[in-house]
């Protein structure tokens, strides 16, 4: 397989030479992943677009790693010539930090950034555009953050049709019949 990953490895080398990558790997054919500090986002995107001809901005995504207190933002580029998807990942603190706006490089990035700003509350420096993109009159914490618990919000906001209160849990039903107690530490392994 190593022979067939030539162009992918070459791309990785070029990027390694040019930038201080935190890490980088060839995920599989046509997928190369690099991780980079967020100060270098604009340089690497410009480099990829202007010099390496990664002119198609495929995707931009955000993952909430709440345990680390970080958002991971992923920029995915595509080269129509090399036919490689380049995934550029960077991490940014959940609170207090922001990312540079890149919609001057690709105008459609504006849409992604607006969505991430709205759904994660991650600000982009210099982003222009309507604040409300998908939601309307939203005054909770941004919904895609993992600390937003959607079912709790739902149970206090919306109605639930009555008539289902008589539902029984199989485990409890059987426990009740056997007159046995489940220790607390075991409960997390019961099915929910």
């Amino acid at each position: 397989m190593t022979d067939t990953l030539n162009k992918e490895n070459k791309l990785l080398e070029v990027l390694k030479e040019e930038f201080k990558l935190l890490s980088g790997k060839v995920k599989r054919s046509r997928r190369v992943e690099v991780v980079i500090e967020n100060e270098q986002i604009i340089p690497i995107l410009l480099f990829a677009k202007e010099r390496l001809n990664y002119i198609h901005f495929s995707h931009m995504s955000c993952v909430d790693w709440i345990e680390e207190g970080k958002f991971e933002v992923i920029y995915i580029l595509w080269s129509p010539e090399e036919k490689i998807n380049l995934l550029i990942k960077t991490k940014v603190a959940r609170e207090g930090e922001d990312l540079p706006n890149i919609d001057f490089i690709w105008r459609q990035a504006n849409t992604y950034e607006r969505e991430i700003r709205e759904m994660y509350g991650l600000p982009f420096d210099g982003l222009v555009g309507r604040e409300e993109f998908i939601l309307e009159d939203w005054d909770e914490i941004p919904p895609m953050r993992r600390d937003f618990i959607t079912n709790e919000y739902v149970s206090e906001t919306y109605f639930e049709r009555e008539g289902r209160e008589d539902a029984k849990d199989v485990r409890e039903q059987i426990l009740g019949r056997t007159d046995e107690k489940l220790p607390d530490f075991a409960k997390k392994y019961s099915r929910d």
Binding site: K27, R28, R30, R31, I55, H56, F57, S58, H59, S61, C62, V63, D64, I74, I76, P80, K83, N85, L87, W106, R107, Q108, N110, T111, Y112, R130, E132, F133, I134, L135, E136, P143, M144, R146, F148, T150, N151, R191
Partner: protein, 367 residues
């Protein structure tokens, strides 16, 4: 004509809108001077919901992201999960998947025929093509048990094998459709009024198209041969014989021609898959779904849907639930930045027309 600028809302309740969205237009006379896409009317928070559902439960929800053509979603999701987990898919399943995808493409194009002609006021076309689309849906029903939401392609393969007599029925339907598409051609593509309407409208600049994020038929309609099926082959597309068209023009008419060509190609691919389909297993069984964990990792997978490149970015943190599933439909770019830019300078008669030719599908913008 009045030169005063009027604000015109196309949608959300509007017969001309594709789905449930809104385009806010600034109009001078009949000409659009500014367009703004407003979405969020269909936002269900799929990606949030998937955080709460395990890997298999999420499989039933992804197809709901795009109604006209749910299968690319299922296929993408399944393939992403398989890629992270390293699960093998039997060859037969791959063929069945390709067949399903192509049937879905045909169904979607038939719906597009209706939408494109309907937005131009030719109401006979939707009656025909959407009516004939039911025959594809019948095939889906036989195959998957559902007309619209198939929930058929799942991680590890497909859910059920082909039913008895499916091949004959499918081939017969394909023959019928091919005949019908000739009739559609006469009604729609040879129609001088349609040609007048479609030519020179909604032109995408070829030089900027890739950079603007245009994908799928609109990009091929700019003369750029780009198709995930050949650029980043998945399933068994590399073993099938089909052509990807590319035509210069960039207007609604070229896009329509591309689709007209592709629907025939799809019929051809369906026939090929039915012929070449190997025997054997159709499903590499997953473990008990409630306890099925996927090792940590991420995958970016793409499918060529009828509207263009459909991509999934899936992240697993090693638990039985996805960390993040990010869906990018072609309409995400087509429906917002591209549409907003394309509409400027067009006649308001063509707003819905252009929207249909781009395949704007709001549920995949807001998910």
């Amino acid at each position: 004509m009045r030169e005063k600028s009027t604000t015109l809302y196309i949608g959300p309740q509007h017969p001309g809108i594709t789905g449930n969205m809104m385009v806010k237009l600034q109009v001078e006379g009949d000409t659009v001077v500014k367009a703004e896409t407003h979405v969020g009317y269909l936002h269900r928070g799929f990606e949030k919901l998937m955080e709460r559902r395990n890997w298999l439960q999420s499989f039933t929800i992804v197809c709901r992201i795009c109604v006209p053509e749910p299968d690319p979603n299922e296929e993408n999701y399944a393939r992403a999960v398989e890629e992270i987990e390293g699960r093998e898919v039997p060859e037969r399943a791959k063929y069945i998947r390709v067949m399903t995808l192509e049937l879905a493409r045909i169904a979607s194009y038939l719906l597009w025929y209706g939408g494109q002609a309907g937005s131009a006021g030719l109401y006979t076309m939707p009656q025909w093509s959407v009516g004939d689309r039911n025959y594809i849906l019948d095939l889906f029903e036989d195959l998957t048990g559902g007309r619209i939401y198939h929930m058929y392609i799942w991680p590890g393969g497909v859910r059920r094998d082909l039913p008895k007599g499916f091949k004959d029925k499918a081939l017969k339907t394909m023959d019928y459709l091919e005949k019908r598409i000739d009739e559609y051609d006469k009604l729609l593509f040879e129609n001088s009024i349609f040609q007048k309407r479609a030519k020179g409208v909604g032109i995408i600049d070829k030089n900027k198209a890739i950079e603007w994020g245009v994908v799928g038929a609109p990009l091929r309609g700019c003369g750029i041969k780009s198709d995930v099926r050949i650029d980043d082959p998945y399933e068994v597309y590399d073993k099938l014989d089909f052509e990807v068209p590319a035509m210069e023009g960039g207007d609604v008419w070229t896009r329509a021609l591309i689709r007209r060509f592709e629907i025939r190609q799809s019929i051809n691919i369906v026939r090929q898959t039915l012929e070449k389909m190997p025997g054997g297993e159709f499903y590499n069984k997953i473990p008990n779904p409630m306890k099925w964990k996927i090792p940590a990792g991420d995958a970016y997978v793409k499918t060529e849907s009828a509207r263009g490149e459909f991509a999934y970015y899936v992240v697993s943190d090693g638990t039985n639930k996805p960390r993040r599933v990010h869906v990018k439909g072609p309409a995400y770019v087509h429906g917002v930045t591209l549409l907003e830019n394309l509409l400027v300078g067009e006649n308001i008669s063509d707003v819905s027309f252009i929207m249909n030719s781009l395949g704007t599908c709001p549920p995949e913008i807001e998910r």
